[in-house]
């Protein structure tokens, strides 16, 4: 929703609102042009965040439809609905879509929308990089699905292990499309993570020390730092793979001194932290929802923060538990078993803190809180099978069976999708300005909770019965038919629940009751501005005196004045104590991010067909980058700021 959709009264109602005349000037300064040009050039973090979330939901639907087709195929033994080759592509597309095009991007997208609002900033750091990130992500996703339609979709699973994915066993361009999609999405993910981390470190409202940051912001900070360390690993893994396939290198060719195990190490050094990259933001969302709907601060804030950081750190120490079946040295097995069990501790600590918060609070079981309760149940079940899988003897028995499929769906849907759906319902009034329907919200929750468990719980049993994953069918005499049929029925109930949830969003965006700045009575800064927020987020700069500014400032929210209304200007504060440090300009709408992403797309896709594209196509990319970074007029001079006391200058 653009600025023009917000009624002036709604904007002026919020605690950080400016007088009408000043609002007009500031709104003009931060506005995005109307029409197609505005759509293509916007650098508004809220606009990009919403677009990112909507695109992530589209990929969620596509990934879900692929799952529905798979479940139809598996509903009865020896079904001939889909050919084995198409089934390979479908399960590879499903995993790839859900991990790379839905889960990670949509969590970052929620951060893109919410982080600047939660820290009290006018926009995000590097808004153009943010726009570039979105366009690149979109291009990577579209490329993958165009490939799917053209029968060149990935076929070696979302993990694409060589030698199965290597030149010998995956001829044609299918795996190349997968590898290049990785490049697109990881580039986009890294760009968003850098923007996020810089926003959190440097753009928090005065007074919002690290110890006062909302738990969702802590979760996004930890996640962003994890992305920065983890994603280069998968880019390296997939670049080595595509290089083996296209230019005859031998990274994974055992015959020429390469190692297929190297791929697994690189992939899982990324792949395991990826799981936490997906659900740490979910944990942050759970904390925010819990405190609002229990009307008390989350129990044990310092412990919660330490648990997030510990999870982020430990996540890099357990990738080898995905490789227990590869015949590692015994000592390695023992170490990674211990490490895998250790990470259950911070997760358990957080669960107990949330339970304590509900216990000691005055809970209201509205839809977001229901999703939190669903999260606790499903995530704990997934966590328990995780502890089981950390044990090498059990892991070896159920490796690559449906037991593992059940485990990671419990962890990922429980740890990420339940909180995400709760969070979308919770922050929907902020982003859209209208309340979602509580009735439809409850219906969707119960359908999703029941459907999910009916779909995935039987998979534990199927796995223990020996049903391997990634098979397109099974013989009737194995006795797996009944549970598979039950699982398929559950999947369709789950799909119906998601459909009701989406219908709720669409209907409520048009017909929901007006929300007002703070409809849930929450405590964070994002509720101190109108719903939806104006383009500039906050007219007056909020000042934070506690972890719950809207609950603990009975005399009114303290604010600072003095940022100019034109040109665009943001406040930077010190990284630890959030003291006002300097003011900086912020970019206006720009076409360069889109142009750079188009030229980068040409480079990435072209290089699948001819490696020289890496050289020639880099020239237009370079031109775009120079255009993007070309220096703008001095902000100090424009606003007449003092230049005799520049922080960081030497005498």
């Amino acid at each position: 929703m653009t600025e023009s959709h917000i009624s002036p009264a709604a904007v002026l109602d919020a605690p950080t609102a400016l007088p009408p005349a000043e609002h007009e000037v500031l709104a003009r300064t931060w506005s995005t042009p109307r029409g197609l040009w505005g759509f293509l050039t916007t650098v508004d973090a809220k606009e990009i965040g919403k677009r990112y979330v909507a695109t992530g939901l589209v990929f969620f639907i596509l990934g879900g439809l692929l799952a529905a087709v798979m479940r139809a195929q598996l509903a009865r033994p020896e079904s001939g609905l889909i050919s084995p080759d198409r089934y390979n592509q479908i399960f590879s597309m499903h995993g790839t879509t859900m991990m790379f095009l839905f889960a990670v991007p949509i969590m970052e997208a929620m951060g893109v929308y919410l982080t600047p609002l939660m820290v009290g900033a006018r926009t995000m750091a590097f808004p153009r990089l943010n726009a570039f990130s979105y366009w690149l992500y979109l291009a990577g996703g579209v490329m993958l699905y165009v490939g799917f339609v053209l029968n060149i979709a990935p076929e070696a699973g979302w993990t694409a292990y060589p030698p199965l994915s290597g030149p010998q066993f995956s001829a044609g361009k299918r795996t190349d499309f997968w590898a290049q999609m990785i490049t697109f999405t990881e580039f986009a993910g890294l760009a968003a993570a850098c923007s996020m981390a810089a926003t959190i470190f440097k753009m928090r409202a005065p007074g919002m020390t690290l110890a006062r940051m909302p738990l969702f912001v802590w979760a996004m900070l930890t996640t962003s730092l994890m992305v920065i360390v983890a994603m280069p690993a998968v880019m390296l893994a997939s670049s080595f793979l595509i290089s083996d396939r296209l230019v005859g290198s031998h990274f994974y060719n055992e015959a020429e001194g390469g190692s297929v195990m190297l791929y697994q190490h690189l992939f899982w050094f990324f792949g395991h932290p990826e799981v936490y990259i997906i659900f740490l933001p979910g944990l942050g969302m759970v904390s925010e929802i819990t405190q609002t709907f229990c009307r008390r601060a989350v129990f044990g804030y310092p412990v919660m923060v330490l648990a997030l950081l510990a999870t982020g750190f430990l996540a890099f120490g357990l990738w080898v538990h995905h490789m227990f079946a590869t015949g590692l040295p015994r000592l390695g097995d023992s170490f990674y078993t211990a490490a895998s069990m250790t990470i259950a501790l911070p997760a358990g600590v957080q669960i107990f803190c949330w339970i304590a918060s509900v216990w000691d609070g005055r809970p209201r079981f509205a839809t977001p809180m229901l999703f939190v309760l669903g999260f606790v149940i499903v995530f704990v079940l997934g966590g328990l099978t995780g502890v089981m899988l950390a044990s090498v003897p059990l892991d070896l028995q159920v490796h690559d069976t449906y037991f593992v499929v059940a485990h990671f769906h419990y962890v990922l849907i429980g740890g990420a999708v339940f909180p995400l759906l709760g969070a979308i319902h919770y922050w929907f009034p902020k982003a859209i300005g209208r309340m979602p329907s509580e009735t439809l919200g409850r219906i969707s929750f119960w359908l999703i909770l029941v459907g999910f468990n009916v779909a995935f719980f039987p998979m534990h049993i199927l796995g223990l019965m020996g049903m391997p994953r990634r098979v397109y069918t099974y013989p009737a005499e194995m006795g797996w038919g009944g549970l598979n049929l039950l699982s398929t029925l559950g999947a369709y109930v789950l799909a119906a629940g998601v459909a009701v949830f989406l219908v709720n969003l669409i209907v409520s965006a048009r017909r929901g009751a007006p929300a007002g700045p703070n409809p849930w009575g929450a405590s964070g800064l994002e509720w101190a501005t109108s719903s939806p927020p104006p383009a500039y987020n906050f007219g007056l700069t909020p000042v934070v005196e506690s972890r719950h500014p809207l609950w603990t400032s009975p005399e009114g929210l303290p604010v600072m004045t003095g940022l100019v209304h034109a040109p665009r200007e943001v406040l930077l504060t010190t990284a630890g104590e959030a003291r006002p440090d300097i003011r900086e300009s912020s970019p206006k709408p720009s076409i360069w991010p889109l142009l750079t992403s188009i030229t980068t797309t040409v480079l990435f896709i072209g290089s699948i067909f001819d490696e020289w594209f890496l050289v020639w196509a880099s020239l237009p990319v370079l031109v775009c980058i120079i255009g993007w970074f070309w220096p703008k007029p001095s902000h100090s001079k424009t606003v007449g700021a003092p230049e005799d006391n520049v922080p960081g200058a030497l005498a």
């Binding site: 850098c194 440097k202 300097i582 900086e584 230049e643």
Partner: protein
Amino acid sequence: MSRVVGDLSQLPAAGYRLHSLWGWATLGFMAIEGTGFALAAAAYVYLMDSARQWPLEGKPPDLLWGSVMTLVLVASLLPNFIVSRAARRRDLAKTKAWAVVLFVFNLAAVLVRAVEFAHLNVRWDADAYGSITWALMLLHATHPVTDFLGTCVLTMILFTHPIDTERLSDVDDDAVYWAFVVAAWIPIYLLVYWAPRWAP
């Protein structure tokens, strides 16, 4: 309802290093690329460790050009340091003069790197040793090349545009990044040029 507790209008509108967002952008780049270097180096050691001999066939890279590269890069740290100090002291004349010197070093590094590839004594498609050697070299080579282009544009702007604190801060960020490029090269130099000589 709100109460005004402070005024931000007298804050400076520029800052060096991590006071400014561009400093954080540089830090972000270094963190991502540093992780990439570390993982690629780990991959090199992993492959070396699982090989019977290293190189798998043939001889190690010629020492001369890699060592020349190392000398050029280490020597460039001096003008780099001077440029950074001058920029932070807002000494425009000195910044301009030493930016040109640094530009010459950058150019030399790019030229030497081009020669280096001809003296690796292995092709990327010969075997896994060749592949990982080329990977490390290419991964690092993109940095002198991109930083050279950045330095070109920045040096040109120093001589053609009015210069303010924000541009001088850009020059300082560029110097910090170049120091990272040099620092990243040292372990890669040891791996590419010396590990094949030291390996059993």
